[in-house]
């Protein structure tokens, strides 16, 4: 059942993205940016956590969860350090994703040649 809801919810988020691409003629960069903003705003109302509980990876794998993780890290630190904690914690939960994307991207660009 976990897999089923991950598939359906993850797929539906991608369909929203496809509609933004085809109907509203946004570029992929616009779609990804809007999704990250949407994830942060939804998390601001505590809605995104509910979606993760329900759909598991269907909610954590789409890029919307990046906005959600940014806000979560910020809020966790703000409990300890007050207002300044927002900036201290903002990359706390996403650092693994950003660091690995930079690292693997760099290694692949050094090792591989682009095709065609």
């Amino acid at each position: 059942m976990d897999f089923f809801w991950a598939f359906v919810v993850g797929g539906l988020i991608c369909v929203i993205g496809q509609i933004l691409l085809d109907v509203f003629k946004l570029t992929p960069a616009h779609v990804m940016s809007s999704f990250v903003v949407a994830g942060a705003v939804l998390d601001g109302f505590n809605l995104y956590d509910k979606l993760i509980e329900f759909a598991g990876a269907g909610a954590t794998v789409p890029i919307t969860s990046f906005g959600h993780s940014l806000l979560h890290g910020a809020m966790a630190q703000s409990e300890e350090h007050g207002f300044l904690g927002i900036a201290i914690g903002i990359f706390q939960l996403t650092s693994a994703g950003i660091a690995s994307a930079i690292l693997f991207g760099f290694i692949v660009a050094i090792l591989f040649r682009p095709k065609g």
């Binding site: 496809q18 954590t60 903002i90 690995s100 991207g105």
Partner: protein
């Protein structure tokens, strides 16, 4: 007088209409499958390493990013992207793909000026907007919390 706006309008009848339903089905299936792979990885990390669901998030995302970077290196992910559209762009693998492909594309300009400076050409907007939005929402929530 042709301006930017009415040019866009005047060429509209001549642009090919994308097959919306078919594109949505493709995006749904591929996007869904990527999330199913993520779910499988998450369960793997929870069962084998004893992580909680929250802790399993980071290794899952990291593994997906590694897979996407390697597939981009072999040119497979970009072929998938042409087929799946948003289905491969919206998951976190699309984020890794945009970093890796931008880095590879500018490899010929050198490692510093090519790879390193162009890496975030596409993904940078995601990080900028994510950070600004999360910061604004965070400040609003912090202020609301102080009053409640």
């Amino acid at each position: 007088m042709i301006t930017k706006d009415n040019y866009k309008k005047s060429i509209k009848p001549y642009q090919p209409k994308p097959p919306l339903i078919l594109n949505c089905v493709k995006a749904f299936v591929i996007g869904g499958l990527i999330c199913v792979i993520g779910q499988g990885l998450m369960i793997f990390y929870m069962e084998v390493f004893g992580f909680t669901q929250k802790q399993a998030g980071n290794p899952t995302v990291t593994t997906l990013i590694l897979i996407a970077a390697i597939l981009t290196g072999f040119g497979v992910y970009d072929k998938l992207g042409q087929f799946a559209g948003a289905g491969s762009a919206v998951p976190v693998t699309g984020f890794a793909n945009s970093i890796t492909s931008a880095a590879m594309e500018h490899r010929s300009e050198g490692i510093v000026l090519g790879v390193a400076s162009n890496m975030f050409k596409l993904a940078g907007s995601v990080i900028v907007f994510g950070t600004v939005a999360a910061y604004v929402v965070g400040v609003v929530r912090y202020i609301v919390q102080q009053f409640l």
